[in-house]
């Protein structure tokens, strides 16, 4: 229970320990701690940034997807319209062509009819003359009545 020089000795060792602690223990550990704190903060920030950019990319993708869909439907619409147009055009063309063919056929038929009529005309006059010749053979001279016969034939 005596107060003695141990007091001074203990003070000195206390100061020495404090000095060692201040020199070799405290700075490296607190430096490491604050460095780790920074690192963690950076990591969290990076994660936050990553998440944000992911969200951004997702919305971009959505926007592009929507655009593409719209584009595609536009193309489909156009194609349908074009197809309809082509069909309409083809119909019109076909109608016109059919009309043309019909007209041509009609003209041909008319021409054939006329031709047949001409032929018939010629033949009828011959037949009529032949008949008339047969009837009039005895009493009528063909030479004398030629004018009447020609007139008759022209009336056909």
């Amino acid at each position: 229970m005596n107060i003695n020089a141990t007091l001074i000795g203990q003070s000195i060792s206390f100061l020495v320990f404090v000095w060692f602690c201040m020199k070799f223990v405290w700075p490296p550990i607190t430096a490491a701690l604050s460095e780790r704190k920074d690192k963690i903060a950076q990591g969290l920030e990076a994660a936050e940034r990553g998440m944000q950019s992911q969200a951004e990319a997702e919305s971009l993708v959505q926007a592009q997807l929507g655009e593409a869909k719209q584009h595609a439907s536009e193309i489909i619409n156009q194609a349908q319209k074009r197809a309809n147009e082509i069909v309409e055009e083809a119909k019109t063309t076909a109608n016109v062509e059919g009309e043309r063919i019909k007209t041509a056929a009609h003209a041909e038929v008319d021409r054939e009819v006329n031709k047949a009529k001409e032929q018939l005309r010629g033949q009828v006059s011959v037949l009529a003359i032949a008949g008339a010749e047969a009837v009039l053979h005895k009493e009528v001279n063909a030479e004398t009545h030629r004018g009447v016969l020609d007139e008759l034939a022209a009336q056909l």
């Binding site: 003695n4 060792s13 550990i29």
Partner: protein, 285 residues
């Protein structure tokens, strides 16, 4: 000495005697062989056991903490580093919440105080006879293994803190500011009256200032001394037969478990008060 050990009071006295080195009454230097001889050595004697054990504990503290400091990285901390960081952060939190100055010594000082005092206090949990018995076998008469049960050790620390408080008071407030703090409060008045109040203020402030380190040192000493005393009394029961000895064993276990609380709490209180006193030295009133 053999006669001392046989009686209960002799046993207790023997356990409470430090290994003292100093100048004996006949002028020779050497170890004291009785507590009377140790007292006669006066101030210029030294408690070798206190010095050695406090030094051993302090060196262990620095050994582990410097090892951890060398391994300290910003990466994932390993076992020892993790433990050391936990203590460092605990101390740092306490310092940051209490101390508002910028002096860089305060945090390492608080760490040293906490771990060193805790280590010295924990020596109390070593059964009281183990180390003294080993020392006796080696021919060393007295061996007190808990430095904080020596009032010199605790007062040595608290006086060092007191000197730091005085140093930073003068450094931060200036000699004039520090003198004004000692003389212009708690009672302040206008010019003629403050001269009258000056000695009263100075007396009150000085008492308050001196009471801080004294209470700081004696609180730690008293708590640990009392705890040690109870361990010694419990150890006495081992001489009282099997029944009493068994009871003593159970008591020692209970007291040791309870004492863990005291040990940690006293180290914590010493650290917190050190920070508080140093903070007061840095604050203007």
């Amino acid at each position: 000495m053999a006669g001392d050990v046989l009686t209960a009071s002799g046993y207790i006295k023997h356990h409470l005697q430090n290994l003292t080195y100093g100048q004996k009454a006949n002028g020779e230097w050497g170890f004291a062989h009785s507590s009377q001889e140790a007292t006669e050595m006066g101030f210029w004697a030294i408690h070798v056991d206190t010095m050695i054990w406090s030094f051993v504990v302090g060196t262990l503290f620095l050994f582990f903490f410097i090892r951890a400091a060398n391994k300290a990285t910003a990466g994932i901390p390993s076992g020892l580093l993790n433990f050391v960081e936990m203590i460092v952060e605990f101390v740092d939190d306490n310092v940051k919440s209490t101390f508002h100055g910028k002096t860089p010594i305060v945090a390492p000082l608080a760490l040293t105080v906490f771990v060193w005092v805790l280590g010295m206090n924990l020596m109390d949990l070593v059964p009281v006879d183990w180390i003294p018995h080993l020392a006796a076998m080696a021919g060393i008469e007295y061996m007190k293994v808990v430095p904080t049960t020596d009032v010199n050790a605790t007062m040595g620390m608290s006086l060092t803190v007191f000197i730091l408080v005085l140093f930073y008071s003068v450094k931060v407030k200036g000699p004039g500011g520090f003198a004004a703090e000692l003389t212009m409060q708690p009672f302040s008045a206008k010019f003629p009256m403050n001269i009258v109040l000056l000695p009263i203020n100075f007396f009150l402030e000085t008492v308050g200032m001196v009471a801080k380190p004294v209470s700081l040192g004696l609180r730690l000493f008293g708590n640990l001394y009392a705890g040690e005393m109870i361990f010694i009394l419990i150890a006495l029961m081992y001489t009282g037969g099997i029944a009493l000895g068994t009871f003593g064993g159970a008591l020692q276990l209970v007291w040791a478990i309870f004492h863990i609380l005291v040990v940690v709490l006293q180290a914590f209180i010493f650290m917190v008060l050190t920070i508080v006193y140093l903070n007061m030295a840095h604050e203007h009133h």
